[in-house]
């Protein structure tokens, strides 16, 4: 994305959301870089939303291959074995997401999340981690904190009745959102 102004195409495409958050926010979105690991369920929703919003780039990490279970809550993967055989989740989601918004640079990063260090994480403004152990999450969290710039760190966990999202914004500390499925209400509780 070159230049300070939004292009004519961007203005037309993002018109409705610019009316929500303003042109300046849209410009800043287009310069931001997001890392997403663990492509299942709620995180897939997030991928869709963040790509539609028009961020600068999205990097996906998930070397898992397609299984029945992973297909179930993933609307980015076509149900065609010819298409999905041999490819990782990240690769498949990448192809799909590029389609959603050609203006976002979507790419795949192979490898184990726990093997990366701050040098890697520093490239991003937002890091979203899911489908991995608590220790991995803590590790990534620590690496992100070492970065010289602010990185927003989100993790997510979801089971039958409880979904948990942990959000750390460097400046503000930690808090947890607890979602009770049956109530349909979403409330904030501090840890």
């Amino acid at each position: 994305m070159d230049g300070e102004e939004l292009t004519e195409h961007e203005t037309a495409l993002y018109d409705r959301q610019i009316r929500v958050w303003g042109a300046d926010a849209q410009r800043r979105l287009s310069k931001s870089h997001v890392l997403i690991s663990g492509l299942k369920g709620t995180v897939i929703e997030f991928c869709k939303n963040i790509v539609l919003a028009g961020v600068g780039s999205v990097t996906l990490i998930d070397d898992r291959v397609v299984t029945e279970d992973l297909l179930a809550a993933n609307f980015l993967i076509p149900h065609d074995e010819n298409v999905y055989a041999g490819k990782s989740l990240a690769e498949l989601c990448c192809d799909s997401l590029k389609d959603f918004n050609p203006m976002v640079r979507v790419s795949v990063q192979k490898g184990d999340l726990s093997s990366f260090s701050v040098d890697f994480f520093e490239k991003f403004d937002v890091v979203v981690v899911s489908s991995c152990s608590l220790s991995t999450k803590k590790l990534v969290n620590e690496e992100c904190r070492k970065a010289s710039k602010r990185i927003a760190f989100y993790t997510h966990f979801h089971s039958d009745f409880v979904a948990e999202a942990l959000i750390r914004l460097v400046q503000f500390g930690v808090f947890r959102i607890n979602e009770k499925h049956k109530n349909g209400d979403l409330r904030f509780l501090k840890r």
């Binding site: 959301q17 609307f75 149900h79 009770k180």
Partner: protein
């Protein structure tokens, strides 16, 4: 996750979606992922570029195609086994009869206008099918459930009609930018480019009663062979200069108001006029001439505020482009927010008028939003609302009546909650739609014609599509394909008669029966004669009443924004979560067991207290995040 029983209920159900747009795309995806197998979807629209930021089932290559059909194809890619039946049609079409609706277990609305919502509401009531309603604007959204006999119907709480402005405010005394937009769009644009025969007059009437148009032939008519630029300047001077001077001569009007100043072309351009012409003709760098005044003038950023001079340039250039490049359309054009040149013209005209009246100017981007009634929208809110719709739909399919909820999706948490569920109210006993209450109509039966009643009351206020009007056994008016020629002529004649002179004379005390067979809605109207109506406050010349909003509406303080999302002030919508009151509106089923109201209220009380103890920082964080956004909005 869903129980075995839930899953099989879902699998065996047949669902109708009305709308395949912002909410529709998210909803179709969620339904498919949740295991629904038989979905029908109605949408009359085609895909536009501005949809693509949130209607994710569509791609650039789909622009112009049917939303319902493309949505279906996209879903089948990741759920090939399910059945989705698309209808590229208007839900008000008679094909979608009560029998059509009866085949579904639940109807899910994802509409964007009041009219269609009322229509679907009536059909669902007639068919006895539950309806899940929803709406979103920006970060706000809500979902609610309507079940005949058990809950309010969509119309139990009156929804305010779209905002209109008094004629004199638009033509003489604008005080807000929106007044200037309405003037530019509905008067000036319509006069210059649309059908010349229109009701309201652009011409200002001077004190002595003589109108500026009486002197000569129609000032707005371009004379044969008149140079386009001359014509443009002539119009400019007339509406922004001469008409304002004429208005100023009415001293009374300006006694307590700021006087406008007349603006003439010569004031704005002075000595540049001569060289101006040359520049306006140039196309930049040999690009193909885009039909856009801003393009040829180099005004690239739609967020910029133009000066009076720039606005004037755009006005004249746009007018010129219409007459030179789109001449064949003139006389038939109506304003379309996607018509770039029309938007530019209206923006410029509104801004010049605003300048004259001391009203702040607006950018092309802002003006387009106002003139086009554009709803601001993002993907996330729609996704949340879609999820809530499916949650309610599953409850409906299981007849889990006690747990039906209206849920608000808020922008800022209220009492720590972003999603706020509210218990549903019982039907309003005086709702004319679901409870057959008679209405009262005050009207001058010697002056008002049947046509006025049909247009202003029956179609607009009562929302009937194909009405039938009877006085006792006499059919005064009906619409239909199967009418005989003489019947049609008879009804046409009746429309032009004043009420008291109709074949079955309608006077004070008459009871009219109004019906829409398709909506299966019947309504009685008691006529009361009244001589006079206030021209400003009661400009319709008739008052319809008898429809009392239920008590809860007053408590909730619901207001509806233009695009029909009801945004109640959150604290009012949850009045009784407050500590002392046992009479709860919300019943969070914390453990899933049924509890007595008072017991639950104590528990909730405690949980809230516990939450609130940790609340301060959280609230501050969220407010900080959000205050940037609300500031943004204000700046907009």
């Amino acid at each position: 996750m869903a129980s075995e029983q839930q899953l099989s209920t879902i699998k065996g159900s047949k669902v109708l979606m009305v709308g395949a747009g912002g909410i529709g795309c998210e909803l179709l995806k969620t339904l498919a992922l949740s295991g629904f197998q038989d979905i029908h979807i109605i949408d009359m629209d085609t895909i536009e570029v501005s949809n693509l930021n949130r209607q994710f089932l569509f791609r650039q290559s789909h622009v112009g195609q049917s939303k319902a059909k493309v949505a279906r194809d996209a879903i089948l890619k990741f759920r090939p086994g399910i059945s989705i039946t698309p209808y590229h049609a208007n839900v008000k079409d008679p094909d979608f009869s009560v029998d059509f609706f009866k085949q579904f277990n639940v109807v899910l609305n994802g509409l964007d206008n009041l009219d269609a919502r009322r229509h679907v509401n009536r059909l669902c009531l007639a068919a006895g099918v539950p309806l899940v309603e929803s709406g979103t604007t920006g970060f706000l959204g809500q979902v609610t459930v309507h079940v005949k006999g058990r809950t309010e119907c969509y119309e139990c709480q009156p929804k305010p009609a779209p905002k209109t402005y008094p004629v004199c405010t638009i033509t003489n005394t604008p005080s807000k930018f929106v007044h200037c937009i309405v003037w530019a769009k509905d008067l000036l644009f319509a006069k210059l480019f649309g059908d010349k025969n229109q009701e309201h007059d652009l011409n200002v009437h001077s004190k002595d009663g003589s109108s500026s148009s009486k002197q000569t032939k129609d000032v707005f008519e371009r004379e044969k062979e008149e140079n386009i630029e001359q014509y443009g300047k002539r119009i400019y001077d007339h509406v922004f200069g001469y008409n304002i001077e004429l208005a100023l001569s009415n001293e009374e009007t300006w006694r307590n108001r700021n006087k406008p100043r007349p603006i003439y072309v010569r004031d704005v351009f002075s000595s540049e006029l001569a060289s101006q012409n040359g520049n306006l003709h140039k196309c930049l760098n040999g690009d193909p001439p885009s039909l856009s005044a801003t393009a040829s003038l180099g005004l690239k950023n739609p967020q910029d505020l133009w000066s009076l001079k720039e606005n004037s340039k755009v006005f004249l250039e746009a007018l010129k482009l219409f007459f030179s490049k789109r001449e064949e359309e003139i006389g038939n054009l109506s304003f379309d927010k996607d018509d770039q040149l029309a938007v530019e013209f209206v923006t410029a005209a509104a801004n010049i008028r605003a300048s004259s009246f001391g009203i702040p100017l607006h950018s092309l981007f802002e003006a387009k939003g106002i003139a086009g009634n554009i709803v601001h929208a993002v993907a996330t809110t729609n996704a949340i609302i879609a999820g809530l719709i499916v949650i309610e739909a599953i409850k409906v399919l299981q007849h889990d009546v006690k747990n039906y909820r209206m849920t608000y999706c808020l922008e800022h948490p209220s009492r720590k909650m972003l999603l706020m569920p509210v218990e549903l109210s019982e039907p309003n006993k005086s709702c004319y739609v679901c409870s057959e209450t008679p209405l009262d109509l005050e009207i001058n039966t010697h002056r008002s014609k049947l046509r006025d009643v049909v247009d202003k009351i029956v179609k607009t206020k009562l929302g009937m599509n194909l009405p039938l009007i009877m006085h006792g056994s006499a059919l005064l008016y009906e619409v239909g394909d199967d009418l005989e020629e003489d019947e049609v002529a008879n009804y046409a004649a009746n429309l032009e008669k004043v009420l008291s002179k109709l074949p079955a004379s309608v006077t004070s005390g008459t009871i009219l029966t109004v019906e829409d067979l398709q909506q299966e809605l019947k309504c009685s109207i008691n006529i009361k004669h009244r001589e006079e109506f206030d021209e400003e406050k009661e400009s319709d010349g008739m008052i319809l009443s008898g429809w009392t909003p239920p008590r809860s509406a007053e408590k909730n303080g619901n207001t509806t924004v233009d695009n029909e999302v009801s945004t109640s002030s959150a604290s009012k919508a949850v009045p009784l979560v407050a500590e002392d009151d046992d009479d709860l509106q919300i019943i969070p089923t914390i453990t899933g067991k049924k509890r007595k109201l008072s017991k639950v209220s104590n528990e909730t009380k405690n949980k809230r207290k516990a939450a609130e103890l940790h609340s301060k920082n959280d609230v501050v964080m969220l407010d900080d995040d959000n205050s940037d956004m609300s500031k943004k909005k204000r700046e907009q």
